[in-house]
């Protein structure tokens, strides 16, 4: 039987009056206001820092480059051009990490939740797809991007970060081949819904692939990008000689390089420090199993 408009009003009133609400107090709102203000302050600070860095670049002496004569010897200088989006979260602590040599099997990683937001980084090659559960609940899914397993992968950072509960939490990660996904997901590149997540997980079969996962603690804003822009440049493939004529009359011999980067070993594809996936502190093989 269809219901009437009055019955709909009654139903809404009744459903929202079951007495389960704790209520919202002025103190609750105050805490939220402080959190919003801290975030805005951090964002403003980051914009200011980026602005100062930009100003610093603008006031450096103007130089002109010309092609060098063939008989001149060459030096090496690369031009770093870091990019950074202000207001991003950055990794402050690695809560847990592990490496695996098998895909198609759900891997569980326990970690201790704290007060800060958490992020998740999965290093995996491009044709793969990542499914993530936090504390047993499907949390996200997405493709591994890029082609190099040591530098590209999947990351999960919410707008506010993912907030684990205090104490021991678990994150389950399943890496599957893109061909195991429903056709509509591959075609439209949409996220999986919960039923599809369980279906893909149930149908996944083990296969050999190297991948790693790191659970990280997140913090809003950082001066790291500015610091990284001051790192010395790393020379790359430099084939063309150039001469830089400085305003004071001096000439500097240099080279035109391809794919120049700052001193970040993982910056070939992205020079944004926050876009570099986690690598263990010893710099060695991340596959620790």
């Amino acid at each position: 039987m269809p219901i009437t408009e009055t019955e709909l009003r009654d139903l809404l009133a009744c459903d929202s009056d079951d007495g389960l609400a704790r209520g919202v107090t002025v103190a609750d709102v105050n805490r939220r206001v402080q959190r919003i203000r801290r975030r805005r302050l951090a964002s403003a600070g980051a914009v200011l820092a980026a602005g100062l860095a930009t100003t610093g670049l603008l006031v450096t002496p103007h130089t002109v480059t010309t092609r060098a004569p063939d008989d001149i010897w060459s030096a090496v200088m690369a031009q770093p051009s870091p990019t950074w989006r202000p207001g991003e979260y950055t990794v402050t602590k690695v809560l847990a990490h592990a490496g695996y040599r098998e895909g198609g099997v759900k891997q569980r990683l326990p970690f201790e939740g704290g007060q800060k937001a958490m992020g998740l980084e999965v290093g995996c090659p491009a044709p793969l797809y990542v499914l993530v559960w936090i504390n047993g609940v499907p949390a996200a899914s997405g493709p591994c991007r890029g082609t190099d397993a040591s530098r590209t992968g999947y990351r999960l950072f919410g707008e506010d970060g993912e907030h684990p509960r205090p104490g021991t939490n678990t994150v389950d990660v399943l890496v599957v081949a893109a061909s195991d996904l429903p056709r509509s997901v591959r075609t439209f590149q949409r996220p999986l819904n919960m039923a599809e997540v369980e279906s893909v997980a149930a149908g996944a079969k083990p296969y050999a692939v190297r991948w790693n996962v790191a659970v990280t603690e997140m913090e809003f804003g950082s001066s790291d990008p500015v610091e990284s822009s001051m790192l010395p440049p790393t020379p790359r493939s430099c084939t063309k000689d150039i001469v830089i004529h400085k305003p004071n009359g001096q000439d500097v011999l240099s080279s035109e390089c391809e794919g120049a980067s700052v001193g970040n070993p993982f910056a070939e594809e992205s020079q944004n420090p926050s876009e570099t996936l986690y690598v263990p502190p010893d710099g060695g093989d991340p596959f620790t199993e």
């Binding site: 039987m1 408009e5 459903d15 919202v24 996200a140 819904n193």
Partner: protein, 165 residues
């Protein structure tokens, strides 16, 4: 000039009702509290500009924040073994119960749900709802009409209602 005392008075007087509105939008008490705290915090940060009646501003933040959370956090979906809206056969009799309406409400898109909640729980008129949701009165009515069709609200009652408005 609106001051801190005004805001505290507003929170004390209106938070219970606003929390129920937030719950009807998201159908989860914890999320509703989170939603309302965010809306009231934003209202306080803009308190000097919200005017004498802060309700429309708070409703707008509630609806917008809920819609953005709904888009971002698909994990909020609840798996179900049966489709909420069978298309092939008319199961109006079965869906006439309150439980069926609740299930249908839970499946409404955020904008349609917001229209239903603001119209039938907050008792706001279509022009006010349009202002809150940032759309025209015609859009509010079309969204309401689609939502009511999904909820199986009596067509006679609906036509009477549209004549009134």
């Amino acid at each position: 000039m609106r001051d801190r005392a005004d805001f505290e008075r507003y929170v004390e007087q209106r938070s219970a009702r606003l929390l129920r509105t937030a719950y009807l939008l998201c159908r989860d008490w914890a999320t509703a509290e989170d939603l309302l705290q965010t809306a009231l915090a934003k209202a306080w940060l803009a308190w000097a500009r919200v005017g004498d009646n802060p309700d429309p501003y708070v409703y707008r933040v509630l609806a917008n924040t809920h819609a953005s959370w709904w888009r971002r956090r698909w994990r909020g979906e609840v798996p179900t073994s049966t489709l909420p809206e069978p298309a092939a056969e008319d199961r109006t009799d079965l869906l006439g119960s309150r439980d069926a309406v609740r299930r249908a409400l839970a499946c409404l898109p955020p904008k349609q749900r917001a229209v239903i909640v603001l119209r039938y729980f907050a008792d706001l008129g279509d022009p006010e709802i349009g202002q809150i949701l940032g759309c025209s009165v015609a859009t509010v009515r079309s969204q309401a009409s689609r939502a009511l069709a999904k909820l199986r609200v009596d067509p006679a009652a609906r036509s009477a209602m549209s004549l009134e408005s």
